[in-house]
């Protein structure tokens, strides 16, 4: 069944170019979600931090650096696969997954239970946007980690090669996108005064 | 080009007819405020322009369908022409000019009305309008009067402060033309000058739930002197505890459930209540002093009188009633020995 279409479809279209454009468009659309959340935060609470909110600055900085580090290892994993270095790929992929998971746990299992002590409540005040923004971001981190795990396992079974590694590229791009979002969320949630 | 003569002539003739019709037609509800004149004339101007465009397009459209229909036996295709840059530029630029000119005019009209987004001026009559599901209340803060009918003087500008208790409503008297939403957590303002004596209705224009269709309150526009007389009477009532209390109690429906003659209705009677001991459903006994009465109005579930059910009385009187109205009711209850 594939033979019929492959005969004339394959040479005409560069599947990789299609995939890349599709992924970028999808990320552009996702960007809107985060823009809406940022707008909500600024409309409701202005450009500073409302009175009585003391977010945990140290925790914020630590998880930011952690996510940044995971982006670097993701970059190294993709580059390694592009240059045929499978060991470096597997190593860096695993590192990314671990750091991503730790980030997720740090937000959901550590920071969230502590938040009410810093004046952040789910139902009212700055807590609304705090939980909405970290929650939506964490949801994207979760999907990213799941995809990284799938790609890691597939890679261990030899699914990718320097000539064909779209799965790696897409997942890593998505991971960078999650990091990119945090670049704007971190200051909006922690740093403004 | 000869083909253009007939449609052009028809366009001119029918445009004149359409414009004349627009000029004569009663396009809107009968006006009753000074602002209506400007709104209506802008509307009519828009309709003149629309009528001409409509006639122009329809004449050429119908003419083309008739003149360029395929006749029996014809087989060929139409004339082959692609485009005409001059024409395209013309019908881009001309609308742009109309849009800019009309945009300027539209901005002037709403600015000159000084009806929305303006500060209160000294001689405005101030009225606080509160929308709640599904009724309106009107307060005249300078006079200390609150009503459920909107009574206004003719010929004086009225500064409405629009508030909402529960959901979004929209304050609209069609005869006054301009409407404005009442929004929880936000105060909107609207300044109108009623100039026709008569009876109208304020109609909620924003979907607000079950009885939205019936969220209408009477509006009476009176001559200035009549208004003053009405207001004097209201002020007198408001300052007389024996009269203000009964009025508020009627306005908010209290006496539907609380009798004033000792008979037992859905709620405890008011007769002989104040100052006496009340036994509650939880077995305790309290004295019905001012604090107890106030608490029973604003938080009816706090203390349930023995033999009566909870969850019958609305819990939103704290937001619907002014402090003065609550005090009036308490004062009234105290008169019912």
């Amino acid at each position: 069944m594939a033979a019929h279409t492959a005969a004339h479809a394959a040479p005409r279209f560069n599947k990789l170019a299609l995939n890349r454009l599709g992924l970028w468009l999808f990320m552009l659309s996702e960007t809107m979600i985060f823009i809406i959340l940022l707008v909500t935060r600024f409309v409701l609470f202005g450009t500073g931090m409302p009175e009585g909110i003391e977010v945990d600055q140290l925790l914020g900085l630590v998880i930011t650096i952690l996510l940044l580090a995971s982006s670097i290892s993701a970059y190294r994993a993709e580059t390694a696969m592009a240059h045929g270095n499978r060991d470096a790929f597997q190593r860096n992929m695993l590192l990314t997954i671990i750091m991503g998971t730790v980030f997720l746990l740090a937000v959901v299992a550590w920071e969230w239970p502590l938040a009410p002590h810093h004046g952040l409540h789910l139902q009212e005040g700055f807590g609304i946007v705090f939980f909405a923004m970290t929650g939506m971001h964490a949801f994207h981190v979760l999907t990213g980690v799941l995809m990284l795990i799938i790609v890691y396992l597939n890679g261990r079974n030899g699914a990718y090669s320097p000539e064909s590694y779209w799965g790696v590229e897409a997942t890593v791009k998505y991971w960078h996108f999650v990091d990119l979002v945090w670049v704007f969320f971190y200051p909006a949630l922690y740093l403004l005064n | 080009m000869r083909k253009l003569a007939l449609p052009l002539a028809l366009t001119v003739i029918l445009s004149v007819v359409a414009v004349m019709w627009v000029q004569r037609a009663t396009l809107t509800a009968a006006p009753a405020a000074a602002e209506a004149a400007a709104v209506d004339s802008l509307l009519r101007l828009e309709f003149y322009i629309l009528a001409v465009f409509f006639v122009l397009c329809m004449v050429f459209f119908l003419y083309s369908l008739w003149a360029f229909r395929r006749r029996a036996g014809e087989t060929g295709d139409g004339a082959h022409f692609h485009s005409h840059t001059g024409l395209e530029i013309a019908w881009t630029v001309v609308p742009v000019i109309i849009v800019v000119a009309m945009g300027y005019h539209g901005a002037r009209v709403i600015a000159d009305l000084k009806a929305v987004d303006v500060p209160k001026s000294a001689d405005d009559l101030e009225v606080i309008v509160t929308g709640q599901q599904w009724s309106w209340t009107f307060e005249y803060p300078e006079q200390g009067v609150a009503t459920t009918d909107l009574v206004l003087p003719s010929g004086r500008s009225v500064y409405f402060r629009l508030r909402a208790v529960d959901v979004i409503h929209s304050f609209w008297v069609p005869e006054f033309r301009l409407k404005m939403d009442t929004i929880p957590g936000k105060e909107n303002v609207l300044r109108l000058t009623p100039n026709q004596v008569g009876e109208f209705k304020v109609r909620c224009a924003e979907l607000c739930g079950t009885r939205h269709a019936y969220m209408e309150s009477p509006v009476r526009v009176l001559e200035a002197a009549d208004f003053q007389a009405w207001m004097d009477e209201e002020v007198k009532i408001a300052n007389d505890p024996t009269k203000a209390g009964p009025k508020v109690a009627g306005q908010f429906g209290c006496i539907g459930c609380h009798s004033i003659d000792g008979s037992k209705l859905v709620g405890p009677t008011w007769k002989g209540l104040a100052g006496h001991d009340v036994s509650l459903a939880d077995g305790s006994t309290v004295t019905a002093d001012d604090d107890y009465l106030r608490e029973s109005i604003v938080d009816p579930s706090a203390a349930i009188v023995e033999g009566y059910a909870d969850n019958v009385m609305p819990r939103d009187f704290a937001t619907r009633m002014t402090e003065k109205q609550i005090a009036d009711v308490i004062a009234y209850i105290k008169t019912l020995k």
């Binding site: - | 397009c57 987004d117 033309r177 936000k186």
Partner: protein
């Protein structure tokens, strides 16, 4: 079980199982946390989300991805060549764009009939003042559901036209991502089911706009409405990614941007809007659901929220969304006119770019829905001017269409009648727009029947009539059979007359103060007779649509076999057999001329290798 070989049946069964399982798990978790196990809102919310996923699993949407995730290489885009009847393909997860197009279109018609039935029901109530056959709550539920169901139907119709036409028109074998394409259709189905089920789970009385705080207080049905729209929105977004990539990357050799069929331009503009704006309604509704479920006070002033913020987010989608509804329709008008006039489309580039300009300006006008919320004069005036600017590109389209008619050899088959009808209806819709754009007059006509009539004119002229035109026009392409011309014409005239009866009365009473969205109206205002006229018109439209459905069903089964190119069109899709084989073109077609060179001797648009006679 043979029944289980149909994806739809499997999907429904799996969906119900997922719904029940999701609800059970939620209840178990609640009980474990020490809460009351049953709470309708959270339990049904998680249940419907799980049900949506299992529905997709049941239909087979995840089969290939699941095997990919497990490490197996998924097959290439599976273009099935099956023996036996073709119709089971329409009930399955099938990645072929033509099948998906028909699936979308049929779904659209079914959903539209549902929404129409609701309208006919409450129209009966409105025919006279006073409440006769229903409560005000029932009216509110029907009216609200009518709005959103019709919008969902329109989105499905847009998806139908886009899927069926884009690949054939640009000479591509299929969409860029066939599996994603099928997913975008199938994910909409549970969304639609959720939206419709809102009527049976308590209804919602907020209108389709779902404004909080009313939306937060509304019955449980509102939750299904919000979640359903969210899911349908996902479908829109993934669909639009596919359209854009396909249009940018997969055009036939020689097909430059200004040699694309004009409908593709309309779809390109539409897809850009869908891609960027749809997230806004999704997030706005998600935030209300979070407020309902978890008490997060985004829009509750007592908790630090802002009521008007919702409207900004909501209209940032919902205004551009009306261009999503009309741009494909206007594309159909531009596409069909030259064929029936036998003359090139006048000012092709201007018509194409005007679609892009409308899409762009569409993002800058949202707050004209909010003049009555007290935005302040600066914003008011800015949005008034941007709104008026929409008239310019729309005017370019209208005048170009007039110039296309001029000097042609016009014939009046059913598709052409619908095109001409939509021209008239959309003209009135467009001309009634500025009244809502000027602040002073908008503060008068806002939330009246004038707006209702204006909106129905833009929707009927911009979508419904062109959609019917498209269905009649491409019916032979999809089925290989011809529809009944006589029934088609009866359908057209009933709709045209009925629709105008309906809206002219609406315009008139709207100007005289008839509020919209009210179950009952003050008899002293004298609107009763006009409302009766409106109801009569609505029923004529209903009869017309019934005839359409009969015509379609009969013709698809027993219609006369269509000739290969019944409209003598130059467009690539008509150079293919009907229905076209999977993969469309044996070899890529080559574009050698302009798309609408009718009337030029020897002109040709595409060169297509002689199609195999068998088709498939």
């Amino acid at each position: 079980m043979r029944l289980f070989s149909y994806g739809l049946v499997r999907a429904l069964v799996y969906g119900v199982i997922g719904l029940v399982a999701g609800m059970a798990v939620t209840m178990a978790v609640r009980a474990a946390l020490g809460l009351a196990a049953w709470a309708a809102a959270p339990v049904s919310a998680t249940g419907s989300i799980v049900g949506t996923l299992t529905f997709l699993w049941g239909v087979g949407a995840f089969t290939d991805w699941w095997s990919w995730a497990r490490g197996a290489h998924a097959a290439e885009p599976p273009h099935h060549h099956r023996d036996g009847p073709e119709w089971p393909r329409y009930l399955n997860f099938d990645p072929n764009h033509r099948i998906i197009g028909v699936q979308y279109t049929v779904t659209s018609v079914i959903v539209m009939l549902t929404g129409g039935l609701l309208a006919l029901t409450f129209r009966l109530e409105l025919a006279q003042p006073g409440m006769q056959i229903m409560t005000t709550d029932t009216y509110n539920y029907l009216m609200s559901a009518h709005g959103i169901i019709m919008i969902a139907a329109i989105l499905m119709g847009v998806g139908g036209m886009a899927n069926f036409l884009i690949p054939m028109m640009i000479g591509a074998p299929d969409m860029a991502f066939p599996r994603v394409n099928a997913l975008s259709y199938w994910i909409a189905v549970p969304g639609l089911i959720m939206v419709v089920s809102s009527l049976f789970t308590g209804g919602f009385d907020t209108g389709w706009t779902g404004y909080p705080p009313l939306g937060v207080k509304a019955p449980l049905g509102a939750q299904f409405f919000y979640l359903g729209v969210f899911v349908v929105g996902l479908s829109s977004i993934i669909g639009s990614v596919n359209y854009i990539v396909t249009i940018i990357k997969m055009r036939a050799p020689g097909m430059t941007w200004f040699r694309m069929p004009i409908f593709v331009w309309g779809m390109f503009a539409t897809a850009l809007i869908q891609l960027i704006a749809t997230q806004f309604i999704g997030m706005a509704f998600l935030m209300v659901v979070l407020e309902r479920l978890l008490g997060m006070g985004f829009f509750d002033p007592a908790k630090g929220g802002d009521v008007v913020l919702f409207q900004h987010i909501f209209w940032f989608y919902s205004h551009p969304a009306v261009y999503v509804f009309i741009l494909p329709g206007l594309g159909v008008i531009s596409e069909l006119l030259p064929v029936f006039v036998r003359k090139p489309l006048f000012g092709y580039k201007w018509v194409a770019l005007s679609s892009m300009f409308i899409a762009l300006v569409g993002f800058l006008v949202w707050a004209h829905h909010m003049f009555a919320t007290g935005l302040g004069m600066v914003l008011n005036n800015a949005f008034m001017v941007t709104t008026l600017l929409v008239a310019v590109p729309t005017g370019v389209k209208f005048f170009s269409w007039l110039a296309t008619l001029w000097g042609g050899k016009i014939t009046f088959e059913t598709p052409m009648l619908f095109v001409l009808g939509s021209w008239v209806i959309f003209l009135i819709g467009g001309l009634s727009g500025p009244t809502n754009a000027f602040i002073a007059t908008d503060l008068y006509v806002h939330d009246t029947y004038f707006v209702v009539a204006h909106f129905h004119h833009t929707m009927f002229g911009g979508f419904v009539f062109p959609f019917f035109a498209a269905i009649y026009y491409w019916f032979p392409k999809a089925t290989g059979r011809m529809y009944s011309e006589r029934l088609g014409k009866i359908h057209f005239w009933l709709m045209l007359v009925g629709f105008h009866l309906m809206t002219i009365a609406m315009f008139w009473i709207g100007l005289h103060g008839m509020r919209r969205r009210i179950a009952d109206y003050d008899p002293t205002q004298g609107f009763g007779p006009w409302q009766t006229v409106t109801t009569t018109g609505a029923y004529l439209v209903g009869i017309g649509v019934t005839i359409f459905v009969i015509n379609m069903i009969r013709s698809a089964r027993r219609g006369e076999v269509a000739v290969p190119n019944p409209w003598r069109s130059m467009s690539p899709e008509w150079q293919l057999p009907s229905p076209p084989p999977d993969g469309n073109f044996e070899t890529p077609p080559e574009v050698i001329g302009d798309p609408y060179d009718y009337g030029l001797a020897g002109a040709s648009y595409v060169r297509v290798a002689a199609p195999s006679a068998a088709g498939h």
